[in-house]
Amino acid sequence: MAPGGGDVNLFAEAIAYLLDPASWTGAGSIGLRILEHLAFSGAVLLVAAAIGVPAGVLIGHTGRGRGLVIALTSGARAIPTLGLLTIFGLLLGIGIEAPFLALVVLALPPVLAGAYAGVESVDRLVIGGARAIGMTERQILTGVELPLASPVLIGGLRSAALQVISTATLAAYISDTGLGRLIFAGLKTRDYGVMLAGSLLVALLALVVELLFQAAQSAASRRAEPISTPRTTGRARASERNP
């Protein structure tokens, strides 16, 4: 594959493939693959958020179980995603369940860590003040803790989203789904142009998602810290992820 020399041609080939109307029609069209990839990643993220956000908020709120979160996030970084995918694939078969489950497992730690760290970073004095003037626990949660925690919380979702998009690509190795299929199809037929086309699409998709989350995060920062300069957006993410 990709012999030295005519390498620029490979990019030309990839772009030609992407621009070819034939690639965008039929059962295995690029548009369909993109939708598949997005829907799959979105569903994983939703499930991970539905579990991880409430759990993380609870841990940050009560301070109980923080050791677990820290161990989980640093441990999760060491676990190779491909290993997790293949073992789930062997155990659960070639359906979509194996990659789905593996991805939820991978997405949980950053979501949990973001929610936990966000809520924990809220000044105790501010919460005490809110309670002292008679805000109910629910009002404290929704009116004080969540808005103030949101930049870090969204940072965790952002790490998880990138992790999921990345690993969803690998998931095509064990289950026929998403943009990874272009890559593995190209690999099988020794068509580097198609592999490259798939790779460029995934990279583009990841960048778009990254930029969207960045925007959401700085909007949340402006709300949580209206006058200071926006929080350095990379902080929450430095802690977790393994593309």
Partner: protein, 270 residues
């Protein structure tokens, strides 16, 4: 009237913050609980608005046991001022002051309008209304904290070391203003501090507390200065120190008051 009847507070794990405390604070009076950190004074304060419930004994307001009241309603009916204000950093000054009235169902517009009046009352320029807490000085934040506590027009104000985080000059100023505010409003105030001078400056009645919130002495500032009950109180108020033992020297026909080191501190008024 606030009444503590044999209250005791033991935290899980066995540490006892309050051993056995009884006290009646008459309406419209300022009672100052003073003691070093960890003596249980803040715990006592928080029992009044049920941030802490006593392990045994009762706290009652105008004869009603606070435990029979809903904590959230109780807290909204009592003003609470914390150190450094405890303001919500993501809301403007006016919104901070308007928080409780809005929670109580008043229109945001009306609450914000009332907030401006309160800001003036505590000596703040209403131009600050749309700023955020982090844009204000410590002293200004503290004033906002007081304005917020007054927003629901409570009869009772609880103040937890409210001026502890500001520098001495601003603290003096805030104390003076608080005295004139109280002369005007006549709230029942429970004030917690570790600073005996602040206690003497503000309290109608001062309670010097030892560990476990045991009352070492209770009295007006003058009574405590004149006759410290024991060694502990004497050393806490600094009785016998140069600063507390003043004498008069005649200079140029005026009576100058000097301290134990002969440093002049003022003249007797004519």
């Amino acid at each position: 009237m606030i009444e503590f009847a044999s209250v005791r507070k033991e935290y899980p794990g066995g540490s006892v913050a309050v051993e056995d405390f009884s006290l009646t604070i008459p309406s419209h009076a300022v009672a100052v609980l003073v003691g070093s950190s960890g003596c249980g004074k803040t715990t006592l304060l928080r029992m009044v608005n049920r941030m802490v419930d006593p392990s045994s004994g009762t706290v009652s307001i105008d004869g009603v046991d606070v435990r029979s009241m809903d904590p959230v309603k109780l807290r909204r009916s009592i003003g609470y001022v914390l150190q450094a204000g405890g303001l919500l950093p993501h809301r403007t000054i006016a919104d901070n002051v308007a928080t409780v009235p809005v929670l109580e169902g008043r229109s945001r517009r009306q609450a914000r309008k009332d907030a401006l009046g309160l800001l003036e009352r505590v000596g703040l320029d209403t131009a600050l209304a749309d700023r955020y807490p982090a844009q204000l000085s410590g002293g200004q934040q503290q004033r906002v904290g007081v304005a917020r506590a007054l927003a629901a027009d409570p009869n009772i104000l609880l103040m937890d070391e409210p001026f502890g985080a500001v520098d001495p000059i601003v603290r003096d100023q805030l104390q003076t203003e608080m005295r004139s505010l109280q002369a005007e409003l006549g709230k029942t105030i429970v004030f917690v501090t570790h600073d005996i001078d602040e206690a003497f400056a503000l309290g109608d009645e001062v309670l010097v507390l030892r560990k476990g919130a045991e009352i070492a002495q209770r009295g007006t500032p003058a009574e405590i200065l004149a006759n410290p009950a024991d060694e502990f109180v004497a050393s806490f108020v600094g009785a016998g120190s140069a600063r507390r033992t003043l004498r008069i020297r005649e200079v140029g026909g005026r009576s100058v008051v000097v301290d134990g080191d002969d440093r002049p501190t003022g003249v007797l008024a004519r």
